[in-house]
Amino acid sequence: MILPAEKPSDIMPSSNCPTADMRAADLIGTVSVKTKDLFPEIKQGYLQGEGISEIREATEKALADIQMDSINQNHTVNILCSEHGFYLLGGEHYCEMLKTIKDVVQQRTGCKKIRLRVAAGMGSRESNEVIRHFRLTETFGKRVRSMNAFDKGIPIETEIGTLYGLAGAYDADWIIHAFHDEPRDLYFYRMIDRAIKAFAMSYARFETRSVYHGNFGNRSGAFIQRAIFDSPFVQKKFAFGCFLRMTPSGITGVDADSDLYRLGKDMTVDLLRDYGKILQLFSKIEECTAVLDGGRYAYYLHAGGIVFGALENAEYDAFDLSQPAALAYYDLIGKLSRGETEAMDNIMFVNPALKAVVINQAWPGIPMSDLPMFIPTIVVGEKQADMWQMDAANPSMMDLAQKAETLEEAVTLAKQLSGTDKVLIFDGSFGYINLSTSLAEELLQKAPAINQKVNEELLPLWLRQRGIDPDIAVMG
């Protein structure tokens, strides 16, 4: 069913990006489709403003069976969390889970030295903005602190050598890994060990993250997180993991375990099944303009629970591990390895179905200069253009991108340049997708066949590749 456009989730104001004058959902002609109308089997969850008290109850229930006897009242405990969770459907659910973890641990163990460590990628501004916006000091007092990839490190001896974590993450007797299972940049870790990815990213120094991306492959990089998590140093401190569980249709609950591999296996089955369908659907889009309209790094803005980066790389099946690359970057190196230099000249770093991109509001800081190299890219507003002009991660962006004064003007221009009236809006949505009527009709028409293909063909393949028996996992 095609419905009126949905109001997108709120955006946390940030010095990383000027606030747009208009949300893309307010564009005339924008409609929405609910993810449950595309794939009825995907479990419906809470959206912004819904189910906050239920998340507290779910967290308490999930923690009820967790062994906490080793934590005593004189110990220090770090609850490790990530910036990403605070941008999921307004962030209040993640926030409630974190507060509840503190309350439960304090109540069960008598420990009062429970700190919150908020990890962010590029610097301290992001995490400090999160701490202020969500008033985290009201719960954690002075025991809340930001962390970023350039903070002081601590060496971690692993099975493959020394890697560096963030000293601030590990400066306690115990650590609690408080995360979310939304798959985000699945084209990097290929849905291998989602539950422990943060140990090689959010809680790691930038050199370690670079080893992951630059010194390992598109599948083997996932081994870095395992090497760190399995190290005696981390294992000695690790208490348990607690995850906000999500489907493309919203937040469905909370799960916790001291065995992250067990938790990760359960999550993998659900994530491959549910997000795999949206991902496959996006890969079958023949042509569209993407409108980026959210308060996060451009690649991490969601539509129907899938980030824009996944659409940009949708010509690859990131879940199929027989494919060595799910990103043009790795694909290009593979082609060099195979001597396919002619093919290399023609390689396009962007999904060919993506015909244009409009940036209404999105953070800079992550490299995406490849967009305007290959497709029309239009930045809305002078302030936004100035911001991208200054972005060291995209030094050529504004040499190649076009500017428009308003969102309406940008979308009109994008339609002219791309030759398609199909528009897909990445505005942080779960549970629905805001888009043009023409694209809504295409998605609704294609979804049933994709549902069948994922259930019968792709999901069993993806599961077997990860050592999970599909008969047991799916059929129970």
Binding site: G161, N215, P324, I333, L336, P395
Partner: protein
């Protein structure tokens, strides 16, 4: 070649001398003088990390009066030497190792062959690590290691020497974890 159009400027009244900007600066363009941060304009590659990290918001990014170009021409160095160094590091010369500046391995290799002795010098010469720094640091350290340069990390935590790559993973680990495609990716990334 990378064009640098901005420059960090420190507000000395706001600066408390905490040294966070000095520590994070990838090109060592910031040093302390009289407990205030000072920017070497010739070295600043406008990475904005000082702007992001400053707790006092004492850093402003200003447009440069004149554009500054950074880069090393690989043609200035014997091509066989570049190919040999890249091969030792298991990198293709044309493979870009910085996703932000799109700098190829051969440019960093040329800078090292010409005498660069530290990651800071590589950043000042090529602009690599002026963006997100999340992709490029480890391959830069790989090239240094392959060239036999003995690196000395600074006393602060600007960087640690981590050059670990697929080619350093012991065979017993490769065999123990077949589901991580360590053997297959090694073939995929460099033959």
């Amino acid at each position: 070649m990378k064009s640098v159009n901005f420059l960090s400027q420190i507000d000395e009244i706001k600066c408390t001398g905490c040294k966070k900007c000095e520590t994070i600066c990838p090109s060592a363009a910031i040093c302390m003088s009289d407990n205030k941060a000072q920017v070497d304009e010739g070295k600043c590659v406008a990475c904005t990390k000082c702007w992001n990290i400053c707790p006092e918001e004492a850093v402003t990014m200003l447009p440069r009066k004149e554009e500054m170009m950074v880069g090393v021409e690989p043609e200035e160095v014997n091509s066989e030497e570049i190919e040999s160094l890249c091969a030792k590091a298991h990198l293709y010369p044309d493979q870009f190792i910085c996703a932000c500046t799109l700098t190829p391995a051969k440019e960093v290799a040329a800078a090292i062959i010409k005498g660069a002795k530290s990651p800071e010098e590589i950043t000042a010469l090529t602009g690599v690590r002026s963006g997100c720094a999340i992709y490029c640091m480890a391959p830069v350290l790989r090239l240094f290691k392959a060239h036999g340069v003995s690196l000395h990390p600074p006393d602060n935590h600007r960087w640690y020497n981590v050059s670990l790559s697929l080619w350093d993973v012991p065979e017993e680990v490769v065999q123990k974890y077949p589901n991580y495609y360590l053997r297959e990716d090694k073939k995929e990334l460099y033959k």
